[in-house]
């Protein structure tokens, strides 16, 4: 059937264009096949190590899992694990809300700081590569186990190392508070600024990757844009808001999403630890899965809302 149609068409269309068209189609199909080949490892991994476990984890969350010789048994219990996580468990709901609130206060500060730092590091000055090397150092210094060790550490707080509990930190913030109160800003805003100063180490140390992303973005802006605007007589301030900011605004979205995920799923997060302990310390696999699913859904909703909001200020050059 198809063959006859092709010959019918072939009668109407001249030979040369037809040949060209078919070759183009083949090339496209070939490229699509190559594309599948390149992403094939991901597809395999996605199914075996992501989608199947994700569904399994959901099944565990609506069952009571009992470990027996050579495997496990599942007893369906409906939504009672979810109910236990949210209503019965002593701290789960509170810790969940707390880590979300903590994330909401920190992420804007991280974005602002990392954008500021990237702009600083993008300028020319002596010792720039040293400064860059040190600014990226937190990626090493506060990853994985380091964060766990630092977060519950006695020496650090007693020596005022992270400036959170130390006397110096408190003293500084008091001085700043007095200054800000005189400026007649709203008290909530002042509180926010002061808490930001108190947590400056946390913010700086959570900004390594974000600085990197912003810096790479700043460097990819074509210098010709600045040359043109300088000829028109624009000031540095105008250049910043009319060129730099719009050009890196897609990265604000990227960094916001990254910071949210990083803040909610890092190794020192309370909820993450609780989910782990519920599974392996108290062997309550069903409850642990329910907690993990609730947490995942919460993150998904938050990321969805934030992406919607931030997308409004993002400008795409093209």
């Amino acid at each position: 059937m198809r063959g006859t149609m092709m010959t019918d068409k072939a009668l109407k269309v001249a030979a040369a264009p037809k040949k060209k068209k078919r070759r183009g189609l083949n090339l496209n199909r070939k490229r699509a096949m190559m594309g599948y080949l390149f992403v094939l490892p991901f597809i395999i991994g996605l199914i075996t190590f992501f989608l199947v476990p994700l569904i399994q984890s959901f099944i565990f969350s609506i069952n009571k899992l009992e470990v027996v010789e050579g495997g496990y048994n599942l007893l369906p219990v409906g939504l009672s694990n979810y109910n236990r996580a949210l209503r019965v468990h002593a701290t789960y709901a509170r810790d969940l809300v707390e880590s979300v609130l903590y994330m909401l206060t920190n992420v804007p500060l991280i974005i602002i700081f990392s954008f500021f730092a990237a702009n600083l590091l993008n300028q020319k000055f002596k010792g720039r590569s040293l400064a860059r090397a040190i600014f990226f150092l937190p990626v090493i210094l506060t990853s994985g186990v380091m964060l766990v060790i630092d977060s519950g550490d006695l020496l650090q707080s007693s020596l005022g190392m992270t400036q959170t509990d130390g006397q110096e930190g408190a003293f500084r913030a008091v001085e700043l508070a007095r200054l800000l109160l005189r400026s007649r800003l709203s008290p909530t805003f002042i509180d926010y600024i002061i808490s930001a100063v108190d947590r400056i180490y946390e913010i700086v140390s959570a900004s390594g990757v974000q600085i990197l992303v912003f810096l790479a973005g700043l460097q990819s802006i074509s210098p010709s844009l600045f040359e043109a605007s300088n000829i028109e007589g624009a000031t540095g301030w105008e250049n910043f808001w009319k060129i730099t900011f719009p050009m890196v605004s897609p990265l604000i979205l990227v960094n916001t999403v990254y910071s949210i995920i990083d803040s909610l799923t890092n190794s020192s997060n309370v909820v993450m630890g609780m989910i782990r302990d519920t599974a392996f310390a108290s062997n309550d696999y069903g409850l642990s899965s329910a907690m993990a699913w609730l947490y995942f859904l919460a993150i998904l909703v938050i990321v969805g809302i934030v992406v919607k909001l931030v997308s409004k200020v993002v400008f795409y050059y093209e």
């Binding site: 992403v39 991901f42 190590f49 000055f125 990226f136 150092l137 210094l141 700086v204 973005g217 460097q219």
Partner: protein, 331 residues
């Protein structure tokens, strides 16, 4: 030339001069402010590590001595000796080194290939698949923890292994296989991010490069291997360093799949308990460390975890910072 015009010219020159002076002053004062800000932030970043370093050389009495703040009165290497043996450092170091090298090389290969596939080929479902890459970043690894654990405890490919051996799969825990399999399929620690970085990098490269290669008769694989890969080195350095560092300090996957194997991140987190156990075993009486001492041991342990990374960073730093300039990760 009359006097008036001379004066006008003079004042013109004067104004220019003053303006120039003003701008150079603004520039100079900004460079001072900038220097102060940058030095301050650098100090903030380095300070906790420097304090850890100074405390790690203190004997017990110096820690309690209020007059000692940063410089120990009688510096000692005793703490390092204790911590090194409690962390079983040599063995744990090699285990960690092997694990990190293995996984980061494999993640680098898989994420580069996958990223290139997403960046340069059009195929059905590309958008959906890429959205799923982002989803793998959003889902907390804890959600997949138990199924993955069971998956590797009774590992099987489509029932083939159980059909051959007659048992319920094979146990891959306590081996590097879970890491290898997950890294090769782009499912390891934070691999979504690496795929994203590589995709953005390849998308930013000029299409003409590939087209020229095709015109010259190179196949798609050859174009990828000989044209694209050499130019992708900066982005690959970034991905490699990230994955090496994050695997090195990871406790989540290593305590999930390698419960009985010593890796640095785990032995460091547990070091003060281990010292307590060792001491109690030596003396035969239960001994408890004071909070300050056990904190000192833990901090010294954490220094020993990052020390190899810092040395690596020292060498790779130039490459890394440069690579950032040319990576061009753009959203």
């Amino acid at each position: 030339m009359d006097i008036k015009s001379i004066f006008r010219k003079k004042s013109e020159e004067d104004r220019m001069h003053r303006r120039h002076l003003y701008y150079s002053m603004v520039r100079r004062s900004w460079s001072i402010v900038r220097g102060v800000i940058i030095a301050g932030i650098c100090f903030l970043i380095l300070y906790p590590t420097l304090v850890k370093l100074s405390v790690s050389f203190m004997p017990e009495q110096d820690i309690y001595d209020v007059t000692v703040r940063y410089v120990p009165k009688s510096p000692t290497l005793e703490n390092y000796k204790t911590v090194l043996s409690a962390m079983r450092y040599n063995k744990a170091f090699w285990n960690t080194f092997k694990l990190s090298t293995l996984t980061s090389v494999m993640q680098l290969i898989s994420c580069t290939v996958i990223g290139y596939g997403f960046a340069r080929f059009r195929f059905k479902g590309r958008g959906v698949l890429f959205a799923l890459v982002i989803l793998t970043m959003i889902v907390p690894p804890q959600t997949l923890m138990i199924p993955l654990f069971l998956h590797f405890r009774y590992f099987d490919v489509l029932g083939i292994i159980s059909a051959i051996t007659g048992q319920k799969g094979i146990n891959l825990l306590e081996s590097y296989w879970p890491f290898v399999l997950m890294s090769l399929t782009g499912m390891g620690l934070k691999n979504g991010l690496y795929i994203y970085i590589m995709r953005q990098f390849f998308r930013g490269m000029p299409k003409e490069l590939e087209e020229a290669a095709y015109v010259d008769g190179a196949g798609m694989l050859r174009t990828f291997g000989q044209i694209m890969l050499p130019s992708a080195v900066p982005a690959m350095v970034t991905v490699f360093l990230f994955s090496f560092v994050w695997q090195w300090t990871d406790t989540f996957y290593s305590s999930l799949f390698l419960m009985r194997t010593d890796v640095l991140a785990k032995t460091a987190a547990n070091v003060s308990n281990q010292i307590m156990k060792d001491l109690s075993a030596d003396i035969g009486v239960d001994i408890y460390l004071s909070p300050a001492i056990s904190s000192m041991y833990t901090n010294t342990g954490s220094l020993l975890v990052v020390l190899p990374l810092l040395i690596l960073y020292l060498f790779a730093q130039k490459l890394f910072v440069e690579s950032v300039e040319r990576t061009g990760i753009v959203g």
